[in-house]
Assembly symmetry: C2
Homo-oligomer: 218 residues x 2
């Protein structure tokens, strides 16, 4: 029982800081996308492609969350995009306070999009509001059709599901239709995109949607 109490306190404190972040992001006129997925579903590749695809439309900055290493931040840095790496040293998710500190250290200039790449984990990051405008969950087709039912929270919390690595579909026994309907059973409002960062398929549709979403946010 005492553990539950402590956990609730941690989440309450997190929600308070997330609300502060929300105000700070608004003052900076910056739209914040929190990207969540299992390890290896393609978060960093999708961020790279999204930056490339939208660079004429808006200026992006990135916060990278990892348990160890700055490998992902190095990939973003190579695109000449301002990036701050959070190393959580074992913690399994980003929280609002970590993101708040990282944002202070970010070279924001005229940025209008902040992409936060969360720790690779389909479970815990979904519990922690960081003050984002939208959560985007990425699922690789190799992970199977049953994941929305087995990890429902992240699908409930997300506005967007990106089904990634669709170039591998011919080699898998997965039904895209079943996966989509499983995801919509958990969250009927999910906006679903299908992409491949190898073939480039679907990226333009996703980026166009993101552009409009940012244009019309208040």
């Amino acid at each position: 029982m005492s553990l539950i109490t402590v956990e609730r306190k941690v989440l309450d404190m997190n929600d308070k800081i997330a609300q502060e972040n929300r105000l700070i992001f608004k003052e900076n006129n910056i739209f914040v996308t929190n990207i969540l997925s299992s390890p290896g579903a393609g978060k960093t590749s999708l961020i790279e492609k999204t930056i490339e695809c939208t660079k004429e439309k808006f200026s992006t900055v990135v916060i990278e969350g990892d348990i160890e290493t700055s490998l992902d931040a190095q990939r973003i840095d190579a695109l000449n995009i301002p990036v701050v790496q959070i190393v959580t040293n074992g913690a399994c998710h980003l929280d609002a306070d970590l993101v708040k500190d990282a944002f202070k250290n970010l070279n924001k200039k005229d940025a209008n999009l902040l992409i936060v790449e969360n720790v690779g984990n389909l479970v815990c990051p979904a519990e922690f509001d960081i003050g984002e405008n939208i959560k985007v969950v990425i699922l690789s087709v190799t992970e199977g059709e049953d994941k929305p039912h087995k990890y429902p929270l992240v699908f409930r919390e997300s506005e967007v599901l990106i089904i990634n690595k669709i170039d591998l579909l011919p080699y898998l026994k997965i039904s895209l239709e079943t996966l989509r309907s499983n995801a919509l059973a958990i969250n009927p409002k999910l906006k679903i995109f299908e992409t491949s960062c190898y073939s480039g398929e679907g990226l333009e549709v996703w980026c166009k949607w993101l552009e409009n979403r940012i244009k019309f946010f208040d």
Copy 2:
């Protein structure tokens, strides 16, 4: 600071129960394998194939850990293998106490192998000893070469790494050699197997190793 203290207390309590489990497993003369991976790396499929491959040699029972649903337990039940499903209701890992309770409810008869399928999460389950003899981490080739460096604890804690879904290698830009050397850089003692539950490749070698490992455990 207080959070860290509570967390440490939780882990200390867990370790105490894990030691009790270890004694109980020994009294029952049962070898316990704790299987860890990201969601969708192929834990359940590998357990199904391992049961099939070793059924002449030993009698297996299974504990399934999931955040929600009993989909995995249904798959094991279909093989006429005694199985208990733990539904964690949001918790991101199994702990020793959950496993202790599940083991009480398991129809153990003459079982000599207990396979515990942990929650799909490459981070948190690695922190929790459940009293197992060995941890086995499964990594799908689709997850990328960098995962041992990005999620080191689970690779440090495991005796075995199973690199799964190798039938997909022709369609990926991954180097198996780099993945292997990254894993060994984190844990030079890792025993590495390469498998495909689709083609069956590598399963016999893994099962043979497991048979010997069980035969010679004290």
